[in-house]
Amino acid sequence: MIVGMDAIIREHRFFAGLDEPTIRLLAGCARNVVFKSGQYLFHAGEDANEFYLVREGRVALDVVTPGRSAITFQTVGPGEIVGVSWLLPPYKWMHDAHAVDPVRAIGMDAKCLRGKCDADHDVGYEMMRRFLPVLVSRLHATRLQLLDVYGKPD
């Protein structure tokens, strides 16, 4: 049985509760994507033209420092989102992302989605309402990570 993108989108936690017309609208920007274990979704500095809603598997987000090996600072799993740099100019990725396990995801065409958000502000507001909690919770997690709470006390 062939399942349409609208059905796949409806099942993803990020889009839970969206009305049918919006789901159909978003489905026009979506495609199914698969990444093998170790394969890169994107690299730092590349255009942020597509972001991903993970359905299966995990994606590691890495930063590379010259002269040192890469450091993974976050892993993202099913129901979560990879990539927020598509939201704001200059639409460039700030880190690498690679599949830890085989990953199935929904790839969202960022340019297409930005266009639809600009054309219909209700859709734009709905997207922002869903992305903001993700950004805020990542900001809080990053603060906690920066505190290095498990480090040896001075």
Partner: protein, 278 residues
Amino acid sequence: MLPRSSGDPMVPQVARVVASRRELGDVWTLDIDAGPSGFPFQPGQFNMLYAFGVGEAAISISGDPAKARRLIHTIRSVGKVSDALARLNAGDTVGVRGPFGGGWPVAAAEGADVVIVAGGLGLAPLRPSIYQLLANRDRYGRIVLLCGARSPNDILYRSELEEWRARLDIDIDVSVDHASPEWHGNVGVVTTLMPRASFDPARTVAMICGPEIMMRFVAIELENRGVEPARIYLSMERNMKCAIGRCGHCQFSSDFVCKDGPVATWAHLRRLLSLKEI
């Protein structure tokens, strides 16, 4: 072997170290002979361990309450006393006073889902409760154990975590704050594991142990998920000296952590943990 207690809680009993093993770079576990009558304790309680000639420190009991003949303590070497304790070897003697404080609500959690969140060495005081939960597995709903560590090399009791995970009747997830890309596990602070954990907030009892700021973030996440603050338990750590509420070293607002704690509810601690003055 631990001789019969004199009855005076301030007098340490002399005990012999049976074994010592390195858990992590600066973390050691001591097995102490508790003698034929054993050393009964509640999960979450602590002992005052005395390194002779150096000093005394409060160390949580991290062994199995059902194996009362062995007293297990996991110690991180961070100062003079803990360093001296961590350096003890099989055959050495150590002073023991205890057990002190109130423990985890393991019996009270019967019938509920249990969510355990450990950060770093915080898994040590929680381990006795995990042993008890698993020994009476049919009395509980879902059991979720979420562990956070600094890096993959800093995961405490790693082989035991793997054994528990293999049981299939406990959900275990581990996350580290930083890792190289060779690490295939989760990366991110322990709170990021929470949305993926499956439990019924309305019938959940949570037990959290780790650095205070981590416990605060975890408790807030649990409360946001709908867990009652009075059913979220945290284990506090303060500079304990007498361990019986007389000296005041561990005073935390109107509480003495040694006798009123170390385990207390988020409902009780929520306001206190945000006061920088204490």
